[in-house]
């Protein structure tokens, strides 16, 4: 009798009014149909035939439901659920809709990824290369671990410089695929290709972003700790090397070498001129002993403040007072120099 209950579900579920009314109507209709089935069985029909006949005599569920709804009203929620189910049934069958949506979504993902990579290539990579060329980041101890960074950026550069050939190859491959391939799974194959492309671009995007971010994460703390004299001396050495080479090339009238060394010298000079700390550093380098003394006093002041911190944790007042006294002695000359 599952078929009977299913029929009653269809008829009664959206009838308005209280739940008890729906139960009464359902019970009444069920008794009618059971009487009808019993009569058809008595006439010699099988159980299944008798039920089918009784339901046919009673009328289609949609018709009976609409007549009962006209008398008792209808439940809005059930109506909404029915409409949603009908929509689901329709859209689930609409294969073209889902396929089109999947193609569109993947195409948008690929477009956004390409846009991001292009943005990195045009705006970030040149600045990154300039920072690395000027030696602003201190990667002395991490260069081996970061050897993949320039390789990744080189791959990006290669792809960018051959992008027109890649586009041509892709268009040809796609054209051949659309022209030659005949298969029921063609749309799935196309989706797989688009998905693979999107995945590849995503890997490239992540690697590029990672290659631009990691050196900064590694290099910036060291950059702050590095003594400016060393940076200034490095830059000055680069200028000297480039200018010497330029002069030699000029003497030899080797224009190709002249252009290359002139460019190197200009870049090195530009780098030193743009360094805000270059002039004060060069000035202080005339009195290097004083600078070294101030540095040792700074380190001592730092050490005594650490000691004061440890004393505070141990709640040792005498130790704390001693540490603070030593700190004042060490930090006094630094403060005086800063005020001067």
């Amino acid at each position: 009798m599952d078929k009977l209950e299913h029929y009653l579900d269809q008829v009664c579920r959206s009838i308005g009014g209280p739940r008890s009314l729906r139960q009464h109507i359902r019970q009444e209709l069920r008794e009618h149909l059971r009487d009808a089935v019993a009569e058809h069985r008595a006439a010699g029909l099988s159980e299944e035939e008798a039920l089918a006949r009784a339901l046919a005599d009673f009328g289609g569920p949609d018709q009976v439901r609409s007549e009962l709804e006209a008398t008792h009203g209808y439940r809005m929620m059930a109506l909404v659920i029915d409409k949603a189910m009908q929509w689901k049934e329709k859209t689930m069958r609409a294969k073209w809709l889902w396929t089109m949506w999947a193609h569109l979504a993947l195409a948008v993902v690929i477009a956004v990824e390409v846009l991001f990579i292009w943005f990195f290539k045009v705006f970030f990579v040149p600045r990154y290369e300039r920072i690395m060329r000027d030696g602003l980041l201190d990667l002395d101890n991490n260069e081996a671990a970061l050897s993949w960074v320039p390789k990744t950026l080189h791959v990006l550069d290669w792809v960018a410089s051959h992008v027109h050939w890649l586009v041509v190859a892709l268009v040809v491959a796609w054209g051949l695929f659309e022209w030659r391939v005949r298969s029921d799974n063609k749309s799935f194959m196309r989706l797989s290709a688009l998905g693979t492309g999107a995945l590849g671009l995503l890997v490239m995007l992540v690697l590029t972003a990672w290659a631009l971010v990691v050196p900064f994460m590694v290099g910036v703390p060291g950059m702050e700790a590095r003594m400016p004299e060393r940076t200034v001396l490095d830059k000055e050495a680069r200028i000297d090397t480039a200018v010497t080479a330029l002069e030699e090339a000029t003497a030899n009238k080797d224009w190709e070498a002249i252009q290359e060394h002139a460019s190197q010298a200009a870049r090195a000079m530009d780098s030193l001129a743009n360094m805000g700390a270059a002039a004060p550093t060069l000035t202080s380098m005339r009195e290097q002993p004083k600078v070294d003394e101030l540095r040792s006093q700074l380190k001592a002041a730092r050490n005594w403040l650490w000691e004061a911190q440890k004393a505070s944790w141990a709640k040792d007042g005498e130790r704390l007072e001693t540490a603070m006294e030593k700190f004042r002695q060490s930090y006094g000359p630094v403060r005086a120099a800063a005020r001067k």
Binding site: H24, I25, H32, R34, D57, G59, E67, L68
Partner: protein, 111 residues
């Protein structure tokens, strides 16, 4: 028989049957089928909206009764208001039949 004609007369038929005795839905349908020799071919499901509408209008009242077999049935009986409505409908039906018959008699032989 034309089901559209039946729709208009369903309330009259139900009230007429219930004037004999209390009946439940299937019994009403079976009685109509038996007494008319199956002349009315209708969807039995249409009976219940009509019964419920007439109950809401106060022409009939329904009550559940449990039989010895354990099955429950909803019996309908006619109210005073229903009886008055039946008399009115019978009168209207007689007038309608009379009017229709007169037209048919006058048109007889001309077809």
């Amino acid at each position: 028989m034309d089901t559209e004609l039946l729709k208009g007369t369903l309330a009259l038929l139900i009230l007429s049957l219930l004037s004999r005795k209390s009946m439940y839905g299937y019994e009403i349908a079976a009685t109509v089928h038996r007494d008319t020799d199956g002349a009315f071919t209708w969807r039995e499901g249409s009976l219940y909206p009509s019964l419920h509408k007439m109950e809401a209008d106060g022409l009939i009242v329904g009550a559940w009764e449990e039989k010895e077999t354990g099955r429950k049935r909803r019996y309908y009986r006619m109210t005073k208001k229903g009886r008055a409505a039946l008399e009115e409908k019978v009168q209207s039906w007689a007038e309608l039949c009379h009017a229709v018959n007169r037209i048919l008699e006058q048109s007889d032989g001309q077809a």
